[in-house]
Symmetry: C2
């Protein structure tokens, strides 16, 4: 048994917190002996994982993700939950100014012992960053965190990675048409189970317009095959035998939903904006009631129709295959004869002196024993 | 030297046509000895390839691709060109009713000996279909076809594959807003170098609206990184040393363009629609003048700024890597110990009894000698 296991699975105290940090450091290490230990630890933890709600939060820089997540975390703690906040930001090793890199951005939440905040592993490549974050989710679940929030920057392919490791993917949008088109263009909106128009109180008319437009877009595009009534998983659930007319009613499927969200509390939105801005964080708990009700309904619907578990199984399978693919490519690139021949072959292909299929054939032949 | 080579590279006659058909059949074969012959043939042909214009044509079913391509082919033949028409349709082996599967759909073009029409190889998987089509492009070029048109169905990922093997990717659209959103959603429009509003004469007002909307969308999204002034390849071309003010002017970059296209000729569009429909194919050559002028301008601009060759090199490199990746996966799946263990490991992952990273680690370890 791994030395960290008893503390990780034990009571919520400083020792567990230290064990969690040490375990994450272990899985973030790329040393071969650490990887062996990490795999042993993960497999031992596995029976104690899977019971959290894994919530992905995305949105372009400036949409207010950190403020939203901190306030949500405090709200959930107020509801008796323990909350872990992780991040996927492949750019963090390059840009320095990473999301969650500066803990002071979530000062109140990070000082609460019922919350655990971990910045993005700075590994450079998205694949590596995503793998470490997936493993960290499992560690947090084993340590008893009931909600694991995974934040991602609104650039690059990190949204797809976070969608692939969470139960519910929530997109934060500003009430701004250009933003919508960006999200549609990048294919992010089609990943969203919930779209939240953030800072709706700053321009209520624009927020209402944005909500109507995004709702129409989601309907028009017929997105979310996995939620749609004709999706394969549901077909399997519906009885195939029996009368064609009197089949049992199918459990309802989740339709992506658009909500408006105010950065200020509903009570604060009543008086002048100046007055509201003077006390931005007080009495704000019930701002989250509608949001969390939608999250809970999503969980109920998805668990009833089987999609909750099906999505996690797809994610686990896809994760395994992504790691196998990455490993195969790594082994290929490290092969001595490949390393010796590849540069010349690539040059021949670029110079039209060797067809790409011959080149691939030659390189693969080098792997034969 | 391969037996087919002299006829392929020889004069344009029935013998060349037979050799081309045989060569395509050879490269479409999956027999190992045929693959060896095919690679030898392709490498021998390579010095005689690359001189055609490779034109990708996409659009959803019903947009009128076949009619457009047949008329375009006849127009180009009228201009003294020889034209090959290929297709990428991964669904053809399933659905039967494949694009180009029924040659009678391009009856006039297929009966002209200056044209060569080949239906999609029916290999089921897109990767296989795309590879065979790429190789067929090389064969057609060696046989002296100056324009190679590659048609693709407007479903699935085949557009990306065809974009990855052509110099110019043209998207056909109906004057219909729903169509545009579909193309944006699927990420097809961002691939387009030219967007053609087909059948514009049926509803000129709608066509003009569609053209304005698509043009605005292309601008708003700032698509086409490879064409944009800040693209990496251009930076490399621009002189880095020297005065910051007095740098040489950069060669212009191509901006994606939207054209309206009438299914009827301009002359026919003048009288009543009934009269025009009575003679749909006559006097239609100059319908293509504006389209082909845009194609020729694209070629001139891209060749001048270096993107023509850079795009082909990127395509060749990406093609080689795709084949290597596919080969690595094939070898993995065929490994005896992997085949023996994989089903159980997958089951353990789906049952949460084994973490995906441990599973991948175990499977990759089986490959060690």
């Amino acid at each position: 048994m791994h030395a960290l296991l008893p503390d990780l699975l034990g009571p919520h105290n400083a020792a567990q917190r230290r064990a969690l940090s040490k375990a994450i450091t272990l899985i973030e290490s790329s040393r071969a002996d650490h990887r062996v230990q990490a795999h042993a630890l993960l497999d031992a933890l596995l029976p104690h994982t899977g019971r959290s709600l894994r919530l992905g939060i995305s949105g372009v820089p400036g949409v207010g993700k950190s403020t939203f997540i901190e306030a949500l975390g405090l709200y959930l703690i107020g509801q008796g939950q323990r909350v872990a906040v992780l991040a996927v930001d492949p750019s963090s090793s390059v840009s320095g100014g990473s999301i969650l890199g500066d803990k002071t951005r979530m000062e109140r939440l990070s000082s609460d012992e019922r919350a655990y905040i971990r910045p993005s592993p700075s590994r450079g490549q998205l694949g590596g960053v995503a793998e470490k974050t997936r493993e960290t989710i499992l560690l947090c679940e084993a340590a008893g965190y009931g909600v694991v929030i995974v934040e991602t920057v609104g650039v690059g392919q990190s949204e797809t990675a976070v969608h692939g490791m969470t139960d519910l993917f929530c997109l934060l949008q500003l009430p701004n048409a250009g933003d919508e088109l960006q999200a549609i263009k990048k294919g992010v909106m089609e990943l969203a189970d919930l779209v939240l128009i953030n800072k709706a109180d700053l321009d209520p008319a624009a927020a209402t317009r944005a909500r109507a437009q995004i709702t129409a877009a989601l309907r028009l595009f017929g997105w979310h095959g996995e939620h749609a009534p004709h999706a394969g998983a549901n077909e399997a659930i519906a009885p195939q035998a029996g009368a064609t007319e009197a089949i049992a009613p199918r459990p309802p499927t989740w339709q992506p939903r658009v909500l408006e969200f105010s950065a200020l509390s509903a009570a604060q939105a009543q008086p002048t904006r100046a007055a509201a801005q003077a006390q931005p964080m007080r009495n704000s708990a019930h701002r989250f009631d509608a949001f969390w009700a939608a999250v809970s309904e999503f969980q109920r619907v998805q668990q009833a129709n089987g999609q909750w578990q099906a999505r996690r199984q797809r994610q686990a399978s896809a994760w395994m295959w992504a790691l196998i693919d990455a490993g195969l490519k790594q082994r290929f690139a490290a092969h001595p004869q490949v390393r010796a021949r590849l540069p010349e072959v690539v040059q021949q292909v670029l110079a039209d002196a060797l067809s790409p299929s011959s080149a691939a054939h030659q390189m693969l032949a080098l792997l034969e024993p």
